[in-house]
Symmetry: C2
């Protein structure tokens, strides 16, 4: 059975956009590099790193959460991120809040609508050596997304080399 | 010394907008109702409830975080919120991410910029009986905001009586 590499951007919907619209040729050996196959336990209880709105086709509003290893690294500005770091990007449709806007009298308040996907970056410099030490994954309705849509994630994240392939900044 | 009531909306920037642009007459006894005077300890480590973008004049992007009592109540859909619930609304300027957008080749990615304020709602049905059981507060640069700007918070939150004065929904 062929192993696919799940090169999906976990640092923000931005990367998904790149994947959807301009699949770049994979730089890594996509036949051998492992991908993240299981949704990390307890990610919804992790601390908040930042919120992001992606306009345009993605039309997304979400949050980046991090496990304890991730939060410590962000707060200590520690780079590269240590093994054990896991980042979870929770994405939702960007929708107006009808109940809030009724009070405003205009369309002003935008909130997360239905979930679109959850993306992860898992740091393990040995296991994921072929992809910069990061394992990438995206899950839709609890299932890993189509590998074909994910090949551009690592090449795109490589552009953030100065911050160890992580695009999102910690919001104090 | 006169005590002011800090009627500032803690459930989202929406409420601030109402306060800034259309101060409503206070419904409660503003001379006697207490307000929240101290920033709750450790709020930045609390779990994520949801993200919100407020367009228009507010131009805000942020997150609502909750302490353990709050998270349990949200997840169990428990209303009214029990005493001890604290909600923290962290607000920032809604700004484009130049480094992300350079990769997109267009202005698509929006992130939290400089902080604007932090707002809290603290549930104590005795202490804050005059304001629906909630103590309201806003802090800018660590200091409580001008009381004059905060008088419309409780009257506005009263419109969310069906959800115990809390506008923000839990994002799963």
């Amino acid at each position: 059975m062929k192993h696919f590499t799940f090169f999906l951007g976990a640092a923000g919907a931005m990367v998904s956009f790149v994947a959807f619209t301009a699949p770049a040729p994979g730089h890594a050996d996509e036949g051998s590099a492992p991908f993240v196959t299981d949704i990390p336990d307890g990610y919804r209880d992790w601390q908040w790193i930042s919120s992001t709105h992606e306009a345009g086709n993605l039309n997304s509003l979400g949050a980046l959460l991090g496990n304890d290893v991730a939060m410590k690294a962000f707060r200590e500005r520690k780079l590269p991120f240590p093994n054990g770091t896991i980042l979870a990007a929770l994405h939702y449709r960007y929708v107006p809040s009808d109940e809030n806007n009724k009070i405003f009298g205009k369309v002003q308040s935008f909130v997360p609508g239905s979930p679109t996907n959850i993306q992860f970056m898992v740091k393990d410099s040995t296991k994921y050596a072929a992809t910069g030490g990061w394992g990438f994954a995206t899950f839709q309705d609890g299932k890993p997304a189509n590998p074909a849509s994910m090949k551009s994630c690592f090449p795109c994240h490589e552009k953030a080399k100065a911050t160890d392939l992580v695009f999102t900044r910690y919001t104090p």
